[in-house]
Symmetry: C2
Subunit: 205 residues, 2 copies
DNA sequence: TAATTATGTTAGTTAGTACTAACTAACATA
DNA sequence: TATGTTAGTTAGTACTAACTAACATAATTA
């Protein structure tokens, strides 16, 4: 089995091939169910090479986690482009969020599969969720104080929006079940348009 | 370790204790990572009893699947109580859906963990999703034709609503992260109220 | 060219796990 | 009294997977 699909056309480093194969297999079957033999075969290296590079199985996962633990650029990416127009901003958020999650879907899947055996990983990733939630809470409060968001419980509105985005990510990307006969972007546009109508104060008031 | 929490106060049958322990452990760690020894210990029986009752590990999972494969009562439960008032019906759906998923969360978790190793289970449960989606599509179309739902892509509206419910289930029940400082029912009420406002045609038209 | 480095090969050891077999104990029932 | 049923105990087999050690070879570098 040959495995080498680095986008640059260069051959991937041995370490990268191993980590790439490991994350793929672990996200598919879980840490315990994946064997070093499988990882080596998928990376087209010998089992010994894996052991020489990483020592043991746990170190492979640790390397994966370290590699994918870059700072949450989600917030910074957003803050720059906010226009304080509800529809624009929520759509922007949804698109950026989906792209962010697609990039991290494998490490996220591992964290779900191993949420009980290795709770630290899951908690670490969950920190990001809390940060995003806080960011959205601040944004929604600001919009509310400017009369651009209906009165009511901001916590609920934020949760509504977050759970919609999260549900979309899980069914569409993580589990790969697409039941919608239209494109992803169209769907987001339609949904957020309806959402925004519900969250915008009536003009007549 | 003593394990016996049958609601009737009677002692649970040996088979039930074993299945109950197995589903709990498999939903927590995945099929492969659970050992017969663990299941036996958790059910407070000897390993041999497990083998005598079920023969092998796969049979335990098969028994679990068979036991939890009752007809989707979700649709029937709903049809009876529909009032064709959007807010009432969507809130009703959300509550019934959440309760239904809570009941089936363990088998659902197993289907996610083993989605690649045993794709049949996941596909079977997914059939239910498709059925629910079709039901909601019919309902939304009906409401739209009665002028009780805004014009636009019904597929999007259904997906918006389903993904909100699904996202809520996954974060609240499946992964157990509750970030909302209010009660579940209050949250559903608030969210659906906002959603319904967005999906209801304006009175002035 | 010689040394070094990266990788492969082969053959182990050790531990865990699914599963079997033989036997025993307690209790119920014909 | 004899037999069936249900569960436990103990020992063992077959296999798998993590991990190690020793040696071989190809590529890279001094």
């Amino acid at each position: 089995m040959i495995y080498n699909d680095c986008e640059t056309g260069d051959y991937m480093e041995t370490d990268e091939k191993i980590l790439d194969s490991a994350i793929l297999l672990m996200a598919s079957k879980g840490y315990k169910a994946v064997t070093i033999k499988e990882i080596a075969a998928h990376a087209s290296v010998s089992e010994m090479t894996v052991y020489r590079q990483f020592g043991n199985k746990q170190n492979i996962l640790d390397a994966i986690i370290t590699k994918f633990q870059y700072a949450s650029s989600l917030k910074e990416q957003l803050e720059k482009e906010l226009t304080y127009d509800l529809e624009h901003d929520l759509l922007l958020y949804s698109i950026i969020y989906q792209n962010y999650m697609i990039k991290n879907k494998q490490i996220y899947m591992i964290s779900v599969l191993e949420r009980n055996t290795m709770p630290d990983l899951h908690l670490t990733l969950h920190k990001n969720v809390e940060e995003i939630q806080q960011f959205l809470l601040d944004y929604f409060r600001k919009m509310q104080s400017q009369g651009k968001l209906i009165k009511g419980n901001v916590d609920s509105f934020v949760a509504l929006f977050m759970r919609f985005n999260y549900g979309h990510f899980v069914s569409e990307t993580l589990l790969g079940f697409s039941n919608i006969p239209i494109s992803n972007e169209e769907f987001l546009k339609d949904s957020i348009s309806a959402l925004v109508t519900g969250l915008t104060p009536k003009a007549s008031n």
